[in-house]
Subunit: 181 residues, 2 copies
DNA sequence: TATATTTGCAAGTGATTACTCACTTTTTAA
DNA sequence: TTAAAAAGTGAGTAATCACTTGCAAATATA
């Protein structure tokens, strides 16, 4: 990979944070520029357009998930593997969390970009590895089982404060208990 | 309730559809006006601001859910009640589905408005009624159990086409099977 | 019928938007 | 060292945005 200049990195970081927090459509490039302390023109010099910037952010996010996915896949005991997947939302950094939030928030209105992740090799291989685990454990419907679990995990990643919400750690444990022997 | 003029109704309908489909921030009031075949000014005459229009849409959505919630609550057999809740996403009209999508899509960036629904009497009473059912069935952790189920159902409402997605009906049945004896 | 209120429109308004351009500074490389 | 390439700036620009205003038509009320 090419060495990335400081300012380019900063634009990516700041934009991820702002997009995740306030929504892609609600964040003007001028605000990103100010927060990253660069000129607005530089954003377009580096990325060409606001949407291309979003695309670059997602690309980067996918890369960063790779390490965690590898960790999960390397676990050969199917039951332990499932426990590990469920635990992913707890292991993740702040930036990862922002990445997932962004992911979810663009799901409906930038579907091409959102599916980019779901269709990425990383994600697909994670799905497959979960499916294999369920198959090995003789679950009756491994595909549906996988879909349900992935849905739950995606939500775990992006849990936001709610009245009366059971805290993340406790809830993760609860979900794990559903997949014990 | 006051009789609502044709055009006011049309604005609400069209705005709901567009907001759900393209996202609140991505839909200009001019587009709503054109699609509803009214002048743009009329939107502001009736609702005052774009955000107030969104608010009115959510208010209306909450009202329309009431009927379904009543149906669920009236079921006294706890196991059947849970089955009924899970089936909600299948019974719902196109407009309901749009309402849920809108709900989800504003979750992150208009939290005040989004929590309006979660904190509404309708939703709270639905949650409580599910919690009671789990309690009656002697589930160990009825609160967490409820939270998990509500999470799943919310997702069922808003399922969008995905590669390899198990179709909604089949998936609903699968989820139901998880809560059988 | 007369009048007051509501409903409606077309043509604005200033602010904000994504993006461009002409230019300077820094870095790379021969 | 020098020239070319890349990184960076700041002042634009046209388009678009939510919203306003002044006035007309429709409707309700007396």
């Amino acid at each position: 990979m090419l060495k990335m200049t400081d300012k380019k990195e900063r634009i990516l970081e700041v934009a991820l944070r702002l997009f995740a927090l306030e929504g892609y459509a609600n964040v003007p490039t001028s605000k990103i520029a100010k927060a990253a302390d660069v000129s607005e023109g530089l954003i377009f010099r580096h990325f060409g357009s606001k949407e291309a910037l979003l695309d670059a952010i997602l690309e980067l996010g996918i890369e960063q998930v790779e390490h965690f996915v590898a960790e999960v896949k390397q676990e050969t005991n199917p039951r332990l593997r499932i426990q590990k997947v469920i635990q992913l939302p707890l292991l993740v950094t702040r930036e990862h969390e922002e990445f997932w939030k962004l992911q979810q928030s663009i799901k409906y209105h930038n579907p091409e970009l959102a599916t980019k992740y779901r269709q990425s090799e990383v994600f697909q291989s994670l799905v497959k590895s979960v499916e294999d685990a369920f198959s090995n454990l003789k679950y009756q419907n491994p595909k549906a089982e996988t879909q349900l679990l992935m849905m739950i995990i995606t939500n775990l990643f992006t849990i936001v404060e709610q009245e009366d919400l059971i805290i993340k750690e406790a809830f993760v444990k609860f979900v794990q208990s559903k997949y014990e022997e």
